[in-house]
Amino acid sequence: MTDPHQAATKLDPVARKAPDSSAVPALSVENLRVRFRLPGGAFNAVDGVSFSLHQGETLGLVGESGSGKTVTSLALMRLLECPPAEISSGAVMFDGRDLLWLPERTISELRGLQISMVFQEPMTSLNPLLTVGRQIDEVLIRHLGLSARAARARTRELLGVVGIPGPDQAANAYPHQFSGGMRQRVMIAIAVACHPSVLIADEPTTALDVTIQAQILALLERLQREMGTAILLITHDLSVIAQTAHRVAVMYAGRIVETGPVGALFSAPLHPYTQGLLRSIPRIVRTPEPELPEIPGVVPDLGDFPAGCAFAPRCAFADEACRRDKPELLPAGARREVACWKPRHG
């Protein structure tokens, strides 16, 4: 059994900080492709996605339903059920290793310890039969080898860190006794229990009310500041990205269509899809336009992605070339990339 004092130093955020945070990304995804084989046929849900995530950074992965953002995150955590899913190519580099090729035992050691996840609906990811305290203890005992007593002490501390009032009583309560916002705090406590270097948050505030959403986003930001965690924030909500992320990657039909620093991308989007999305957000303004700018058409069905640029059927600028050839994601100015034959400027 590990000495609790030794474990405590192991948890010290300063001790865990990588010596050099600049060069090597905390996580990098290269040309990831995920296919689903279903009775109706096989189709690509993720079609060549690449991005990197640096320490202390929040990368927002934004997209509408069917864009492949969640499949991407599940694939890189190796949480997809295979079959029907199949990772047909790509690499996910973490700490010098490709997560896609690690043995199941090693990857499950890593999950929760060095990379952890927060999902949209905490109720379905928490065990309803165990107290909240037990569920956090378990992570600490399993991954850090703490004794039951040391784990509980740390659990109480963690509940306090994520802003749950009365941590002592809270540890003995069951998930259903908490509100949605409080359950999400518990999930975050579990996720950060071992000071992971990467946190994947998939729609962490979508099921919550705005006032509670603001609390949770502020909490994630604070934890990131204190621990230097790299956060991959997956959401459909551009406003959440605008307020929380440093960089953003916009997904459409299984591909990343544009990336860039949040400020630059929001003020001058290059891809017509990004532009359309940003314009169609109903903003609170004194005199709203009579009509909101809309993107015509519908989001393409999974498995029915158009040939050529998938956005072409909805794009006002598309021509024959767009409908025929898929544009690659290429550099476009300072720290920006776009996959478009006719990127917009201004």
Partner: protein, 323 residues
């Protein structure tokens, strides 16, 4: 002045909490706890609030899809609060409901054509040989192709299904439509399409909406007036611009400051509201917002503030602005 289309007075909807063993009432959830509102014909009133604020129950009670516990609902000058079902039926044509999730409110085993013909059949307002025409008229009105009539709800995307839901609500040419989170389940790029459609239909058909939503951006685009609900009560009601740019109730202020702005770097979430919404089964004493309110005074825990009209035209239920 013209008579308002709808007048709601002191409306209360309470649900009994039954004991586990004997199913005896042991308390009640005051989902809607005394709301007053008036609606002019052609107006769009937004009702905003967080989950548990009672906004959906209020909307359903106004159409008597849920029976009110107390209070009165006057529609087109007629008190409908206790009207028996037989007399309610013809009125139902004139007041319709649009649901958040069209998938669960459209019968999956009926074609869209049959779904849209049903209101005419139920209310016996169209001859059998006219049904086809009526259905295609409705489809074109909401921007769906005519062949949609032969297809089933699952064959459509979320946005198209919501168009079907809207077409069904419009079938009998209602005057009042209560739309409950009609765009919340939709993707951003589709949300704008449906909002524009609702706006256009309102003008073309002279409709009046009660638009229920938790999304303040959406509400700010379609509503003329907005009511903010908290734990079953309206805490503030004001014309659109006043509510969004000169809110008076501390809850409205907190709600607005919690909305993330789509402009990066703008409006940091400094004024984060702490705590959760209390349970409507056991609301706090006095002003229900006082445990979370940054301006709470001793009086707020004891006395419930009454809705008061203040200079500027808004109605606020708060001791900071009350008599």
């Amino acid at each position: 002045m013209a008579e308002p289309l709808l007048q709601v007075r002191e409306l209360r909807t309470h649900f009994p909490i039954l004991s586990k063993l004997l199913r005896r009432p042991v308390g009640n959830v005051r989902a809607v706890d005394g709301i007053d509102l008036e609606l002019e014909a052609g107006e769009v009133l937004g009702i905003v609030g967080e989950s548990g604020s009672g906004k959906t129950t209020a909307g359903k009670t106004i159409l008597r899809l849920i029976e009110p516990t107390e209070g009165s609902i006057v529609f087109e000058g007629r008190d409908i609060t206790r009207l028996p079902l037989r007399e309610m039926m013809p009125l139902r044509r004139r007041m319709q409901f649009i649901f958040q999730d069209p998938m669960s409110s459209l019968n999956p085993r009926m074609t869209v054509g049959r779904i849209l013909a049903a209101p005419f059949e139920i209310h016996r307002v169209a001859r059998r040989d006219q049904l086809g025409d009526r259905v295609s008229e409705l489809l074109s009105m909401v921007g769906l192709p005519a062949d949609a009539a032969q297809r089933y709800p699952h064959e459509f995307s979320g946005g198209q299904r919501q168009r079907v839901g809207i077409a069904r609500a419009l079938a009998l040419r209602p005057r009042l439509i209560v739309a409950d989170e009609p765009v919340s389940a939709l993707d951003v790029s589709i949300q704008a399409q449906i909002l524009n459609l609702l706006k256009r239909l309102k003008t073309e058909l002279g409709l009046t909406y009660i638009f229920i939503s938790h999304n303040l951006g959406v509400v700010s685009h379609i509503c003329d007036r907005v009511a903010v609900m908290y734990l079953g009560r309206i805490v503030e009601m004001a014309p659109r611009e006043t509510l969004f740019f000169a809110p008076k109730h501390p809850y409205t202020e907190a709600l607005l400051s919690a909305v993330p702005s789509p402009e990066p770097g703008r409006a940091r979430r400094d004024a984060t509201l702490g705590g959760d919404i209390p349970s409507p089964a056991n609301p706090p004493s006095g002003c229900a917002f006082h445990p979370r309110c940054p301006h709470a005074m001793p009086r707020c825990a004891q006395e419930t503030p009454l809705p008061t009209r203040i200079p500027g035209g808004q109605i606020v239920a708060c001791h900071l602005h009350g008599p």
